[in-house]
Symmetry: C2
Subunit: 213 residues, 2 copies
């Protein structure tokens, strides 16, 4: 039996939930918050980060490591392409989504959503402006040259690269940020396609319900 630890609103937990949905794997989820000073949870996730996964007696953390593990252990309904060069490109997109896009787009979410609603603090609007106007544009310019006109990064099947590239933009959406479709029409349409995919849409609907949107 698989147990996933992590709060659904985390872009990285969401990515792992999509992976489990693509693979049709049964699992239970524990809505673990990150960095909990919880000795039991640290046995599962040594740095206290989310998501973490328990599969029988085996535990592992980090969303990219978990998704690779799921693909290696349950190869049906692939999360990564099989050709080594495509697989490397997929991992590169995933890394881009998890690192820079995570930092910038989830940064907007943290400032404009988490700070006022969860921590009763004002957002750092100077930082948000920098993220929106300086940090994200070069990444979006690059992505505009990479996204396909239809379907997903590696064809008709949604894979990890697709959800990794989009997940933090969904969070930024909760903070009122959308990728400008006049400047980056390809990226904007790509994000919309991922959003409406049957492995993604029900998760976003559940989040909206939790958030009272």
């Amino acid at each position: 039996m698989i147990t996933l630890y992590g709060a659904s609103l985390s872009p990285y937990v969401r990515k792992t939930l999509v992976a489990l949905a693509i693979k049709n794997l049964p699992f239970e989820q524990i809505q673990q918050m990150p960095f909990a000073k919880d000795a039991e949870y640290q046995k599962i996730s040594p740095l206290g980060k989310i998501p973490a996964l328990k599969d029988g007696d085996f535990t592992i953390s980090d969303s990219a490591v978990i998704c690779q593990y799921l693909d290696d252990s349950y190869p049906e309904l692939a999360l990564y392409p099989s050709d080594p060069q495509d697989k490397a490109r997929a991992r590169w997109y995933e890394e881009l989504g998890d690192s820079q896009i995570g930092e910038y787009a989830s940064g907007i979410f943290f400032q404009r959503f988490m700070r006022p609603f969860a921590f009763k603090q004002d957002p750092d609007e100077e930082l948000v402006e920098k993220l929106i106007n300086k940090k994200l544009p070069p990444i979006l310019d690059y992505l505009e040259t990479e996204v396909p006109a239809q379907g997903f990064m590696f064809g008709e099947q949604l894979m990890i690269a697709d959800i990794a590239l989009c997940s933090s933009f969904f969070n930024a959406g909760y903070a009122g940020y959308e990728v400008d479709s006049t400047l980056w029409p390809g990226v904007s349409a790509f994000i919309a396609r991922v959003k409406s995919h049957p492995a993604v849409a029900p998760l976003l609907a559940a989040e909206a319900k939790t958030l009272g949107l």
Copy 2:
């Protein structure tokens, strides 16, 4: 023909050099500096990061993506274990080495070595103290429970997990920091074993020569 782009002193470039050494793959190296505003290099590494790899017409960046790619494309002399759970643990150690240990141990190197010698700036000693006394100890406590009494993380063969966990500590060593062998004897001995491995020692000797040490 394989070309590796990146300055040898980067912990991530060094990791990739060790991967190429383990696999006995012929390659040429271009001593590329990171974040160069160089349109040609951005075609190879879209964010300007190092290392990047060119293999025939195929280009890819990010050290973890490159090492996986090398293992997928040239499977002889494995860089990762084959069992899915061991492979996941190896990727987790690599991620730990590339992210937290990279930030903290390479942070010491950046402050105490790069700032004075390359940028003619004073180090931020308050930050260095925090890295040494607050940030690294919990990671070292955890690693002390993980490292084997002899050999490497997955047996007698040096693999990516081993070099990823140690590479930033080698950089910290250039800044005078060594893991305290009275507090973390297992980690200290593990780093020494990796340092003297035949795929690693010649690289460190070449670095020392470049640095005039």
